[in-house]
Symmetry: D2
Subunit: 416 residues, 4 copies
């Protein structure tokens, strides 16, 4: 795709995602991890302004000098920044100001791209900025879901998708199948041809034991059995810190679930509805995923096992479907056999650590990934909220083990 089309597409899609949201919706920060929609719209713009326009566009005039401070997320090398936990305290600039800011930066960016003024580094930064904005598109959806769930009105972000189609239930696989792998030396990581984040490389060898990987995600029905069997009341299933979190936060089901008279419902971006037992479970923490695996007599895969199986599947017919291209789809649908991508991110047992030989890029963009490599777990495979084209077999997502607001689910593994 031409660079200008790619730029236009990603920028336009962010605005499409924000479009159903009122100014009030776009302002709220419902917990410290969440950012307001208008902040996402501004921060992705700030990224292009800071890393490309400030370097490549000598005539660039800042839209507002305060934005450099307001919309820096965590880049220490760029300068001071507004405290993350207070993003919801900022009413001004408002949504219209942010729209103007986006247009202002887009004008300069498209000029730059169309004039062909970007050198190799510039083109790499453009690619990074586009991928960065895609990442924030998923964050925007995760975050607004949390925001909307805070109101007793529980109104929807999107029109509900039509009721589960016949076809879905027919094709949905009712029993987990297991894909075997003989282990041994496997090549892991991105080889650097197309775009990838720095944390996906260098490619290197990892030695695996033989294992089996489930060919679909754990379903809500299976999770209901875990709950019914006392899954949230049996300490022997839990990591010690998970057990503490469970008590401190009164976890007794995935985030957004609630039970009334024995009926389980869940809040989705299309509103509240009954739990569908065939759908993948979503919005569980690593601690819950790990406890579930213990209960099921299995374990979580490590990220290398996952990648060894997924490698190459993205191009096949059974692979990646159901992402945001379907605009009515805002919740994972029932999975078909052998789907490795989409639906919900799979928690892995791997801590998020650098690959051998990893070096962050020089300068501020080097802060993109490396500095978070502690106290986080890797997730793989993308979710229903991941933009089309933004997922790879080598893609490493990561969250702290207690996080639940991502579209995070569970895929089991076991020793062969």
């Amino acid at each position: 795709m031409a660079a200008d089309t790619a730029y236009r597409d990603v920028r336009g899609f962010t605005e499409e995602l924000a479009d159903p949201l009122s100014a009030e919706d776009q302002t709220v920060q419902s917990m410290p991890d969440v950012s307001p929609t208008k902040w996402h719209r501004a921060h992705t713009t700030w990224f292009f302004e800071t890393f490309i326009l400030n370097r490549y566009a000598p005539d660039y005039k800042a839209f507002d000098p305060a934005y450099s401070y307001l919309f820096n997320s965590y880049y220490e090398s760029v300068g001071p920044r507004y405290m993350r936990s207070q993003r919801g305290c900022v009413s001004r600039p408002g949504c219209q100001d942010i729209a103007n800011y986006r247009r202002h930066v887009d004008g300069y960016m498209l000029d730059l791209i169309e004039r062909g003024d970007l050198d190799d580094l510039g083109i790499a930064l453009l690619d990074l900025g586009i991928n960065h904005e895609q990442q924030h598109q998923e964050l925007l959806l995760m975050d607004i879901k949390h925001v909307l769930s805070m109101s007793p009105l529980e109104s929807a972000y999107a029109t509900p998708a039509p009721g589960r189609a016949e076809k879905d239930s027919i094709e949905g696989c009712s029993r987990t199948g297991w894909t075997g792998h003989e282990g041994g030396l496997v090549r892991i990581g991105h080889d650097g041809g197309e775009f990838a984040y720095d944390n996906e490389g260098p490619a290197h060898c990892v030695y695996l034991q033989p294992f089996e990987l489930a060919d679909r995600l754990v379903t809500c029905g299976e999770w209901l059995a875990f709950i019914a069997d006392g899954g949230y009341r049996r300490p022997e299933l839990w990591l010690a810190e998970g057990w503490d979190r469970l008590h401190a936060n009164l976890w007794d089901a995935p985030l957004y679930w609630d039970c009334s008279d024995g009926d389980w419902a869940l809040f989705t971006l299309a509103g509240r509805r009954r739990v569908d037992p065939d759908e993948p479970v979503c919005h569980v923490s690593y601690f819950e995923a790990d406890a579930y695996a213990s209960w099921a007599g299995a374990r979580l895969p490590n990220e290398f096992e996952w990648e060894a199986v997924a490698c190459g599947m993205l191009d096949t017919a059974v692979g990646f479907t159901g992402q945001l291209d379907d605009p009515r789809r805002v919740h994972p649908r029932v999975q078909r056999e052998a789907e490795m991508f989409g639906g919900a991110w799979a928690w892995t047992s791997s801590a998020y650590l650098p690959y051998p030989g990893f070096r962050p890029a020089a300068g501020a963009v080097g802060e993109y990934n490396g500095k978070f490599m502690v106290n986080q777990q890797v997730l793989r495979g993308g979710s229903v909220a991941t933009p089309l084209g933004h997922i790879r077999a080598t893609y490493r997502n990561f969250y702290p083990p207690h996080a639940r607001w991502a579209f995070s689910g569970v895929r089991l593994a076991k020793d062969a």
Copy 2:
């Protein structure tokens, strides 16, 4: 004034106050004490709905049943309520919904008033609702000031008032005069003729020692001298809890003040500007007020001393001026001699306690005042943000001693 005019006026004035604010501005809660503007607009409406329409309008149809939960501030008897500290997490209902809610309730209320369907209790509740809304008008201004101060843009709520007029500085009293009072038995509290809050009565006798009361509020210039003399660094001037608060919160000046290169500026609802040494100081805590009084070799008045002097002055020419009737006036102006009302609320040394014989009203409205009578200090006299007609010599405002976001200032007293 006719009841319907009074109702229309107070309802209209709230909307006028909210008018300059964007949907984003009206949504933010910048700290737990602050409520979003749209919450104030809704809660004042809820008050009429809950205490009057639900009782007197048999045909009343609730605008939205969830609002009863969402916009209950603290009335336990009415039922459960949304957690106060999370009011800023609610994006829906939005500002337009609230506007519709207000119109809906206003329609029923005006019908009720015009039909004359209210009995004595109903009329008393209407009076209470009108006064309640006036109280929230001041809160709305206090709160939005804090919200706007959180953005680095620090943009204004209102057009700045014209620069201090010559006349102001000429009339402003440059030295504090002292009004003497011989003490003895004085009658305190409201006798119940016109409207007053329950906490202003019963009227009763209090025995006072002879004292003198300053005829104007402490000025910013005097406060600058306190700062320059180490006022914020000398523990002997401070109550122990105040000294702890000072350290925990790094207080070194009133809220909204900051110093750059030796120049002190302050944030007002008309934007940031230099500190005017002749204006009353504002946005100080009780702890600061008390420390200042110690430094000045004086003390704070108790609420009875204040009332003994103020009693009757509200009607006089030197009394109450400069309140919200002047729409450009959003910060205390330079005071003239012997002003007891307006400008900034005066902290008193009196803890907020019931008067002898005080009984809260029966039912939920009895929760209005009485249940807060602990760990608060009384303030007297109103401020620039107090609506015209909402102040009395017997009026008892109250805040915890560490609060600074009210328009609170200092008036000194001393033993005769």
Copy 3:
């Protein structure tokens, strides 16, 4: 009493109180409000060293220079101090070191007293030091009770007193009588003849409404009726902050009470035993006291009402008894008619504020009382843990309204 005898007595009695406690007992700080026993023993010594020896004994050699920092409680003028909440982190100096420190200071003090080297100020400071140490004797008992309650062993500090004597139950008044007072101007406060704390003066006039005061404290039996009637579950009885505290701390009975199979037991310094319905209730917060009074259709007295009735009663036969002179008595016994002193401190509705004309003493001892005059309530009358000779009709004790570890109880009042 001769000064040296008084000094010897008070110093010896502290050591007697500490005597049943092991080194381990004396080291623990079970919550931030509690101080370790060995800290009390050291701090009372530090008081004499700092305010008397350092001024009047030119040849005085500090026992250890670090103690001046370690055992300063809150005197800012004396210099920096060890953080209060960390007193339980200090294992050294140990109990034996503190015993040596006490002997070291006692030697110098008795020399000074016996040589007659103290001027009027010195004698006043000696009196203050002796009263200060008596105050800490009660704190020592309050604190060690909390410490011992933390161990599941719940072992006793003292041998239990013999079972309630026949005589007790015979003399105990089973119904509350009410003492009437016609109100009007009453003289309040200490006139300065004998020793009193600075906060008890100046004596001054207060105007009271007619009222009645209960002639005994509320009993455990009455409290059980309050619990049974939902006292801890009815928000309409509670101050708002009290209701929040109740929920945050899961209060459902006085501190040290627990219920098993419908039987209420309580922990005393003589061990755990059943609740005796005729004994005064003890270890309740102001919030509980106030809620109880609302439930009982009465109110708490203000401190002036209490003093107006108690004034002069200390010398009479029905007055002060049962304090620490009886070494087996560590819990309030059943009261006789018209006892105003001892048993449990009575919470009053008065906030702890300065009397008109109050001026703290110059210098560091001026920090004794005045700087705590905010966010506290006054208690009157002394408790079973108050040393004999340390109580007066004008004595003003004070705690924050949520405190429960003092021997605090309830005496009702009502409007005449």
Copy 4:
């Protein structure tokens, strides 16, 4: 060694370690991570009582039934337990009670061992109990060091070791040498012959890239250069969470270090003294270790690299020395060339995760290790405080990345 000798030795050594400590020292918990000495003495005893006597000694009479609750550390399967953060609130049982408890259990245990009544599981549990107590011996020293550091007296636990010997400085290696490793498949983990913890197995293959490992720990002199070069002020060197911790806790040097007039001193168990630039640095967090490695242009080794080099070295002359066998040695001494064991634990870049095929033991002892496998980093090699005989090349210690009170240091690695 015969089982009874091994038992006697480890039990006796704990008491030797506690011997220099007063009852007060043994009672304090100076932060939530720290346990009181007397708790360590009791908990190690509880371990034998709970897992061996309760199963194998039918005639066993519990010393005190409350101890089962009081001295359970974290074994959910055994029953409820006293809250960890409150261990310092328990004064009773005291040190003498604990000594009696130890003797009581020792009597039964030695009977059991000498009678040969233990089956294979029993012998394995005995081995586990002995190793468990050795682990607590190091914890006891770590903890009491923190406790003693809290007192301004800063008195010593042990007599200082004699000043650094001539021989030390001659043999100490002044420059880091690097041991190369060609990478490839290496065998990692314990094969199960002798005792090892469950987390050291199963043995398995790991594929390594070529690397070099420093032949000694980073020294204090090198750390001083890091400080002098702004190591604690340069965000680009730090993990994001580390940078936040640094600011929240005001880290500017290792724990126990302080600077006065440019001279750096540190607190050791032998008292406060100057920093010796040739000694290994100790008491740094993972975050500091990682930042230092970045600054030095190197990285931390992963745990497999460390083990690949250390494997087999424990038996050689240059290996393990200087541990607790020298009773005057309570701080890491200057290292000789190629020392891999002792001194200070080396932080590795490996998160603490299960080895492939890891299964915790059945029952409560299965809670020993596995349930902590999240949010922790592995440390290798033992420290000066590790008991002789308690270290192995496969030994995996672990702490959260912010922990600093362990004897934790830094060994660098780099890619070949």
